[in-house]
Symmetry: C2
């Protein structure tokens, strides 16, 4: 991934210069959260933290980049001091965050950054784009894997992701959300994600006939032969597959009516004594279609899910926000909040407390940082992971994050995971926090 | 951008090994096209070629990547020869393409790659993800800028794009499609795209009061002051803005009812003698909302468009395809086609001819490569740009591509650009190509 400090919006840099020139580089706290549920969602899975930390802890401005900025007309009245400061830019703040793979709900801060405002301001654009995308995909993947009731889901969508990097990030987030792996090789190499593949229509078409294409593939990959059977005529393709070897691992359906084709395919395979040959289906699948196929007992073992997963088709954007909640001025802490129409925020550093009873989620409470509920079987979800610019722990690997996500899902009741009529988790604002909010609003209206 | 050869699907590599091991490394031709119009679209703008060529002409496998592949269980029966071949991988083929910014329609190949099949196969995933995304965004941007009837559109969506790279690519594609620029600094530096910005709510909130925030910003950026007026109360914010200086460049509305607010803002500004102070609006905008605001004569000068543009919200994926159309075996050219349900393709190398009359588009004809219509005022859209692995021309810069796109749009009649009831351009398949297609189908069914 690219860590250029320029992966940001111009106004972050103009504001930074403004803070710097006005000697306003006080310590500020920003929080990352989502205001509303995206369409069809009643929980979200936090993902993208590893890439966000990698960016924050390693970003620097190259000479070339600084020259570009220095020469941009908008900065003509900004003094050189600021650009010299950027030359030595280093993040020196504290970061609190939920672990990746944690389930969270609207208004809950998943990450809290406290740093000189010049530093904290710069990070907004990158943090949001990474958080918004991976969280959206991990959540979608969780819905798809929940719908599959144990059948395996592989992420197959790189070609329809929003560019090559989005394909890699989608593979990672899909894995966190429950997929067994991806077709993306870069994601396999970089993150240790299991990678899978079958064959394309071009393989079949490159040979003189379908049977030869099947044979040649099986000869080279005797233990990993999954034959794509729909290039010319699906049923004929399946019959040809049975003649290749009883040891082929599977067949893949990539078009047509998956329900009827899978029934027919299972029969043809079973009649040929190939009870262990699996059926893979791919092509325009999503959680609703998979749920339907499984309810009708379609004998499909593995679903390859592409487009709808990697663009989160029914909810293709997530509106994460990164908002100033507190500033320290002359050793005084000043809580901050915003009161635009439908866009208000809660002031001050916050913590999220999760109340459990017998390992089931009762409610979450968003509270001021200094509040505490340890005696009530509640656990705080945010913890300090970066102190004064230093990472305190080794980050978990993808398997640990995935396991954490699974553990988190297990605390939701069954109805919360229903695709059509899910119940929503109760999220409360603590009385103290609500009071603080009202107090600031009153002060503001009276000035 | 990252050029790792591993930015691909695993099956491309397993198929490559298969072709290699079977001495099937014949010259093959693949074509890139879209089968159907995405929702609400009646034309597409080709974008992403520069990044695709950069990838193809520079990709190589690092030792580390080869080691990862060599050790992957799926390749256990593949001989070392193949990995030695990958070590020296170099693209040696020919590429024909439409220029970036060209308008095209379903079934028209926008790019044609002829190379040893082992090379051509590898490229599919990257080509599709780059083409699908940038083409989708350039097309969306074109719709938004058409709707704006000359008011300026700036792309503001990095934080909602599908990851940081998608933000940069969206900025580029938006510019091709007609935006005057982007907020993305990396895109500015890398592609020479004009970059713009105002200020965030955090800037306002970092000061003791709104007026101080406005003043401090104006002092530092006297020629570039666009004040964000909705942090607390929009109308009060606009009034405060008039007290800062009559020379401020503009104000930005970021919430509320843009129609009423812009009318009121214009009145407040005009009454203060600030007729030249512009009004910028941002927040959940798209082509339909912009069209409506302009039809109602809302006095908004610049629209900042974010989420809906960078994810192409009403059509968030594009189904580009990269299909084998021809293979050369023992010096014989064998045209290839696919006949799956609703997924058939046309065989052989193709050219697209555009028929114009008085600079207006009459129709396009998709023909066999060797057909020719020069006497009928028709121009071929595909030209040779890479020969035996070498780029033949310097690629155009972003401004040239944007101008080419504008010129292309001008050949469409007004009704083709209507957002609600557009007419569709006529695209014909040449008689020769149709015959070739039927002939292959007959042959296949008789074997």
């Amino acid at each position: 991934m690219n860590n250029s400090a320029l992966l940001t919006d111009l106004y972050q840099l103009t504001m930074m210069a403004g803070y710097y020139e006005n000697n306003l580089n006080e310590t500020a706290t920003f929080e990352l959260f989502v205001r509303n549920y995206p369409k069809n969602r009643n929980y979200l899975i936090f993902a993208g933290l590893e890439q966000i930390l990698d960016y924050i802890l390693n970003l620097k401005f190259t000479e070339d980049e600084l020259k570009y900025l220095r020469n941009h007309p908008v900065f003509k009245d900004v003094k050189d001091d600021f650009f010299n400061y950027l030359k030595d830019f280093k993040f020196t703040g504290d970061i609190w965050a939920m672990p990746e793979g944690t389930i969270f709900f609207p208004n809950e801060p998943v990450m809290r950054i406290t740093a000189p405002i010049v530093q904290a301001q710069l990070l907004e654009t990158y943090i949001l784009s990474m958080f918004n995308f991976q969280t959206m995909i991990a959540t979608k993947a969780s819905r798809v894997t929940t719908a599959s009731q144990g059948r395996q889901i592989i992420e197959f969508g790189s070609r329809r992701a929003h560019g090559p990097e989005a394909g890699v990030l989608a593979a990672r987030a899909s894995c966190i959300g429950g997929c067994i792996g991806s077709s993306n090789v870069y994601a396999g190499h970089k993150f240790g994600i299991p990678i899978y593949g079958t064959m394309a229509h071009s393989w079949i078409m490159a040979f003189d006939n379908e049977e030869e294409a099947f044979e040649k593939y099986h000869k080279l990959y005797p233990d990993n032969t999954i034959l794509l059977v729909d290039t010319y005529n699906t049923i004929e393709g399946i019959k040809k597959a049975t003649r290749i070897s009883p040891k082929i691992k599977g067949i893949r359906l990539d078009s047509g009516d998956f329900y009827n084709l899978s029934i027919e395919a299972r029969k043809i395979l079973d009649d040929a004594g190939m009870q262990n040959t699996i059926i893979v289906a791919s092509g325009d699948l999503n959680e609703y279609k998979i749920k339907d196929l499984i309810e009708r007992e379609a004998p499909i073992d593995v679903f390859g899910v592409g487009t709808e997963l990697v663009i989160s088709a029914d909810a293709p954007s997530l509106g994460g926000l990164y908002k100033l909640v507190e500033i320290e001025k002359d050793s005084k802490v000043i809580p901050k909040a915003k009161f635009s129409q439908n866009k208000n925020t809660y002031p001050g550093k916050k913590q999220v407390w999760r109340f459990l009873d017998k390992n089931k989620l009762i409610k979450d409470v968003i509270a001021n940082e200094e509040e505490s509920y340890p005696q009530q079987n509640a656990i705080p979800l945010l913890s300090l992971i970066v102190k004064e610019g230093k990472l305190l722990f080794a980050l978990p690997d993808i398997n640990q994050i995935k396991q954490h996500c699974l553990n988190n899902l297990s605390i939701l009741d069954k109805q919360s995971l229903d695709l059509k009529n899910p119940t929503c988790t109760k999220v409360e604002i603590s009385e103290n926090l609500e009071n603080k909010h009202n107090q600031i609003k009153d002060n503001l209206c009276n000035t």
